[in-house]
Every structure is written in structure tokens, then in C-alpha cells.
Symmetry: C2
Amino acid sequence: MQTLTDSHSTTRARKAARLGVDAFPRERVQLAASRDVCAAWQGLLGPAPLPPDLLETLTRLSSVRQVTAGQRVLSRDEFVSDLRVLVLGDVGLGVLIPPAPLRVERSLRGPAWLDLSSAWLNCSPAVDGVALSDAVLISVARGAYQTLMARQSELARRTVTCLAEQLHTAMGKTHDLMHKDAQARLAGWLLQRCDGSAASLRIVLRERKRDIASQLAVTPETLSRLLKQFSADGSIAVRGYSVTVLDAQRLRAHAAS
Amino acid sequence: MQTLTDSHSTTRARKAARLGVDAFPRERVQLAASRDVCAAWQGLLGPAPLPPDLLETLTRLSSVRQVTAGQRVLSRDEFVSDLRVLVLGDVGLGVLIPPAPLRVERSLRGPAWLDLSSAWLNCSPAVDGVALSDAVLISVARGAYQTLMARQSELARRTVTCLAEQLHTAMGKTHDLMHKDAQARLAGWLLQRCDGSAASLRIVLRERKRDIASQLAVTPETLSRLLKQFSADGSIAVRGYSVTVLDAQRLRAHAAS
DNA sequence: CGAACCCTTGATACGCTTCAACAAGAGTGG
DNA sequence: CCACTCTTGTTGAAGCGTATCAAGGGTTCG
């Protein structure tokens, strides 16, 4: 029980991540195929296929970087003047005070924007970012992206849409924190997870429970108790890192609270 | 004590707002001067002066609407397909369940965007909006704005910046709610208010205290106690709706918590 | 004057955190 | 191979922060 499927590399990654410093400063260049970069841009900028020339230009402007688990990819101290994209891997966003491990506020899985707001505002990001697994990043100079946006209005439109999406979810999260208790937030989180893959009512937790807890703004103890409570009333069944939704209806009732 | 400076019209406004319905459906057209509309666009789209032709086109595309206090200007039920801007007046954003008054989550004072995200996403807004005072709104069809953005890359750039700003503050708010207690949030709110006008350590509350409380995600009772506590330790002095910051240093310490 | 509204204050209740202790795995080194 | 350590999740008891409920005073308005 309670074994992770990919125990080996993940454990190493976590240990490195917990150190909170750049554990392995070595850098391998260009391990990611150009095709991966294309796929990432296409994945980010909306479902509709991008014009081929735009995709090609974006890929050409991208500088690829491979990082190992535990490495910092975003810091509240630095000024961000480029757009950063996570192509592959997992990154945790949160507050990092060096002796302590990262307090994860939000976690990303590529392809995803790392920090869509700071780059445009000439300010430092509000959170630190640490790679939770080995990851591939790309970055584009803001100036280059802007001139490309000016020439290709399609890119501008899609960028605006991305920003709008992020703004929408951010406001939703604020709303939840203001009005919902821990129980409702967890129920919502579980429902969101199993909505992603429609038929499968089985959720495999890919992160440590304490990271999930900190994303929900509760302590690990509270999360544990809530999971037990949901199990007790038959909403879900928990076995280690695998959660099965037994009664979505009841779960929705909990989320409504 | 505890008198509002503009008691008369404001009180009427509040009463109407509390009704939660369109109290006064009459609509006066075009009371706002075209100059006001220009000023609003200029105010929204960044400090740097806009190109005159762009400003002129925006103003031409804008349809102006005047609403009275208490009227709904945004509904979670409706689909939003236009960009809405608050030119003058105050609007409360929050959850409105008709018999109950609006639970304000965030309040706006013109010039400000009403809802910058939903219009781009073809979805309904996450919150309701109610005019807290008589207000002037403008709206622009999303299509028209988009084609203008395509032709004038300057507009695209500035729109992206606006979105980035809103995203930044939204994430900051989430962060505060996750990590700071009520005391810290109130202290931060007070500091932000008096930073706006640098020299003046006196803050005049323009809203009901219960609305301030609900924006800080606390009950009016808690807000009252916190203000009393800050008064007791000499951080501030409260006299009705006017708050004077006596010891900004100490207030900052409270905000850090 | 009474009605409606606001803010305040006190007593109490509840949700969640904190602290402490424990069991189970995983890695390490004798 | 076993002892040892480190980490994770779990459980229980106690405490803090905030909400809730109830009551009272001040102001405005009809």
C-alpha cells in the first residue's frame, strides 16, 4: 500500500526539491526535440491549429533549457523579461524560504505557461518556482514575442485568450477561498480531477498529499481527516495514492457547501 | 460622528443597491461627454498617451450607457460578448442572490474594466455586478475590438498589459487569502490605501464597513474588533468613517504576519 | 415617535491549526 | 541482513482564530 508507481525517480526528485536549492547545476542543451517545442506552443495557444509559419517562427525564437528535479526555474528576486513555458515535466509554484522546503501554492504540468503576467509588467514574479521532476523549459524574449505579436495578429488574439483563461481561474480560486470551507474545496478539487477523464472515476494522486493540502490551503492533517470523512460517508474510497469516486452526487453536495 | 460626507445620494444608492434588482429601469442616453469616454480609455490602457487615431476609433466604437444606483451591470446568468468599461461611478462585484443584498467581493471605481476575462472566453462572468452609485458604462463588441486589435498592434500590446496587471493582482489576492490572517489582510489593505496618496495618512472610507469586511473575507464583527485592536495598540485612530494611520511601521509589522 | 439601517460589543460555537506521538516505507551503511 | 535514519501519512488532544447569534445604541427618514 501507499507505493508510488514510479517510486524511484520521483523520490529522488522530491528529495532534491526539498533541498530548495539548485541541486544539480549541470545543464544539458537541446535534449528536447524541435517537435516537442512545436507541440507545446500548439498546446498552449488554444485548440485550433496555429498557422504553420507562426508556429515555425515561435519555435525558432524559443531557447530550450533542460533542468533537473529540484532546480529553481522562477525566483521572486529576479526580474523576468522573458516569457517562460514549461514543455514537459512538473513545476511547483509557491513560497520558497531556503532552509524550508517549497510551500506549493499551485502546481503545473507541461505544457503550461510558467508566469504569464510578470514578463509583461517588468516586475518580479509573486511566487518562486521549483522543478518537481526533470523538466524542459523554453523562454522567449519579451521584445521578440511582442514584435511577432505586432506582425501576426493571430498570436495577439491567442495570447489574450490565454491571459483571460488564467485570470478567470485565478478569480475562481479567490472566490473559493473567500466563500468555501476546506471540505467544499477538497470536494471541488476531486470532482475537477475526475471530470478531466470523463469515464474514469479513479484518481491517481500524482503529488504528495501534503502538496495537495497546501494547494487547497489546509494542513496535511486536515486533508487526511477530510479524506477519512469522505470515505466514511461513502463518497469516495481511498487506498494510498489512489482515490475512487463512489458517489459523485454526494461529492457535489459537499462541494456546494 | 459616523456621518458620511455625501450622505444623501449615497444612502439612496445603497438602499437601491440592497434591493438587488433593477430599481430604476429608466435609461438616459449619452449623458457622458465624448471627452469622458476618451479619458476613460486613456486611463485604462496605460499611462503612456494613446495614438490619437486609436483613441478616436475606440471612442467611436463605444456605446455609452448610463445606469442608476442599484442597477445590475453584470450577471452570472448572461453570456458576455462585449467588453465593458466603467467610466464613472462605483460598482460592486460579488455574489447576488436576489432576496439578499449583494455580497461584495471586489469594488471598482471608474475608470476600470468591468470584466476583462469573460468576454474573451465566451462564458458567463464568475460574479454579478451592481452599480453602487449612479454610473456611466461603455461597451464595445468583442468582434470590433478584436479587428481593431489586429490592425493596431499598439492596442493589442496594451490590452495584454491590462490583463497581465489584473492577473498579477488576482494572484496576489489568492496568495494573501492562503497565507495571511484577517489582521494581516486588514493591515495590508490600510497600507495600500494610504500609499495611494503618499503624504496623507488619513483614509476616508468610501464604502460601508460591511462591504470592506466582505472584500477582506471577514464578518463585519471581526472588522470592528480588528479596528478596535489596531486603535488600542496605537497603529491607527478611527473616528467613524475616517481612519488615520499613526504608526505605519507597526501596521507594516501587522501586515507581515 | 417608530421603523429601518448601521456599527459595535459580548457570549458562545465551530473549523481548522498546532503540537506530539506513532506506524509504514525507502535508502544507507555497518 | 539488520539496525538506523529520514520521510510520509495518520491519529488524538488542545488551542487559536473567526463565525455566529443576540442585544444595544446611534443615526436617518417617514
